[in-house]
């Protein structure tokens, strides 16, 4: 078994347990967060199987005890009879959110919920094995993400904190040492926010390096590179392209807090500008410039 799959396996099992628990206590946003992480894993692992960074056996093992039970539970949640009972409505919300976060895979998700086909469709590449080193890099990146509890807490707070909780958290003023301590102790909510935003920047930047390396690899056909990179972006996009206005606003608040801290410390517009540019560059791959409307 690929050594990284072993690491991922452990964390997926943990996520799976958390989703069950969140459902049991009616914490829908938390179950949605866990479900998105699982589906993200499914996309990355299916690419890995295709490029032989992971074996089909690896995936079948994971399917057996993580993915199939997850989708089966989700299937039970769909209000097929239209009973409108609270538990059905909460679970419908969960499956609808999953579909909205991974829109291009709506059919895959629906089929998986029905237990018909577990893995997303292949990306049609001329030479799958040319992508092996990049698949390995993606697995490594995902290993780092799933082990990063502070990063997960950041997203959990962004998505699920009540208004009162949020305003309390945001009024707290941490020290640099406290924020650094999140590496090992992610329980500090305020510091997880400061920490998590920059971890997001880090992971986006790493992903950007991978996709750039693929695009610049002269051995790889441009069409293949585009298809592969699109799939990678689709897997991770829900972490950046946040549809909820409130959550999106919270991300902006954290970003502004960071800019203010850097500005106050450096006392220089240049540093602030450079810091801001570094953030924009890291997120750059997610934002396609809007087409300029043609004159009527």
């Amino acid at each position: 078994m690929n050594s990284m799959i072993h690491i991922i396996e452990e964390h997926l099992a943990q996520r799976s347990e958390e989703i069950r628990h969140s459902r049991a206590i009616g914490n829908v946003p938390d179950a949605i967060l866990g479900g998105s992480e699982l589906f993200e894993a499914l996309l990355i692992l299916s690419l890995s199987a295709q490029t032989e960074a992971a074996t089909r056996e690896d995936l079948e093992g994971l399917a057996e005890f993580v993915f199939r039970p997850f989708f089966r539970d989700l299937a039970e949640s769909v209000d097929v009879l239209g009973l409108n009972r609270p538990e059905f409505s909460a679970r419908s919300q969960e499956s609808n959110s999953l579909i909205s976060r991974f829109q291009r895979f709506q059919t895959t998700i629906e089929l998986a919920i029905r237990g018909e086909k577990l893995f997303p469709e292949r990306v049609y590449l001329s030479q799958d094995k040319d992508f092996l080193p990049y698949s390995n890099e993606c697995l490594l990146l995902w290993c780092a993400i799933v082990q990063d509890e502070g990063f997960r807490n950041y997203r959990r707070i962004i998505d699920t904190a009540s208004r009162e909780q949020w305003s309390r958290i945001i009024q707290d003023r941490p020290t640099p040492a406290r924020v650094m301590a999140v590496f090992d102790d992610p329980a500090d909510e305020t510091c997880s926010l400061y920490y998590g935003f920059l971890r997001l920047v880090r992971y986006c930047s790493q992903l950007q390096k991978i996709t750039t390396a693929i695009s610049e690899n002269k051995e790889i056909k441009q069409k293949d590179a585009t298809l592969f990179n699109d799939r990678l972006r689709e897997a991770f996009s829900w972490r950046v392209m946040i549809p909820s206005k409130e959550s999106s606003r919270r991300v902006e608040v954290i970003k502004e807090l960071w800019i203010r801290l850097i500005k106050e410390e450096a006392g220089s517009m240049d540093v602030e500008l450079e810091f801001n540019n570094a953030l924009e560059t890291a997120f750059g791959m997610w934002y396609v410039p809007e087409p300029v409307p043609s004159p009527a």
Binding site: E10, L140, A144, M180, V201, A266, S268, F275, T281
Partner: protein
Amino acid sequence: MASSPSTSGHFRLSIGGHERACFALFATTVPVATAVVFVHGFGGGPQKTWIDFHNLIDTTTSNRNEWEASDVYFFGYDSTHTSIDDCADELTNFVNGVFPTATLNPTDSAVIPSDILPVRNYENLVLVGHSQGGIIIRWSIANAGQRANHNPVQAPILKSRVALFAPALFGYVPTRWLGVAAAISGLRRLHDLYIAHSPSATEMKDKTFLQQVEKITWECYKQSPKTPAYSAHVLFGSDEQVVVRQKYVQDCRHTPQSGKDHFSICKPNASYSRPLSLPFDDCLS
């Protein structure tokens, strides 16, 4: 070698032939199975960093069987004036001298008890590091791992189990916001910006080297995930404020120890026995 009176289960000998004050505690039990090598950090030493391992290994109930069958080496080096690279070479030479076979120098003036065998053969090797000692261990292993790609004979150090207390794998904790941003985001641009604008940015300057150690260790691990030396057991204290509290992806993270800081994390005492078990125990997860 110079000797001192034996404690209940181990006999202490200073180790000659090394510039620094290295010493060892040799087990009086037979057979001995394991060599444990302790590597201190920046500004530390073979005695002061590891207080009170020297006495507690003979009285502890934690992993008593393992300690009884272990010879314990306390490696010393010049941590303040020598490069990590040179320290790693020194450590490699030291390990090669003791594992898998160590010979007590028969010309030594010390009186060695008759129950101490002069030739020590070990099956297991454990490397224990604190702070900078952790990065020295990992660099020694990474070097050996790289050489293993071209050499069919595996270096002894690659057979080691690695246990690290508060290792400086990702450098020291920055004290300014720009340093924090650079450390957490890992963005080269922010790193450069920090160095350009911070009067005391030396804490970040070694990051490139540290990243290289991590990268090479990871490459070695990918090629040979069953080689124990590539994944370490890592323990931090909850009050750690000196080094960045992070491990490598493949490492085993032990639950942080509450109430311990960078310096106290590796010092066992009557009410804190956890350091005595880290060299041998697996993490629970």
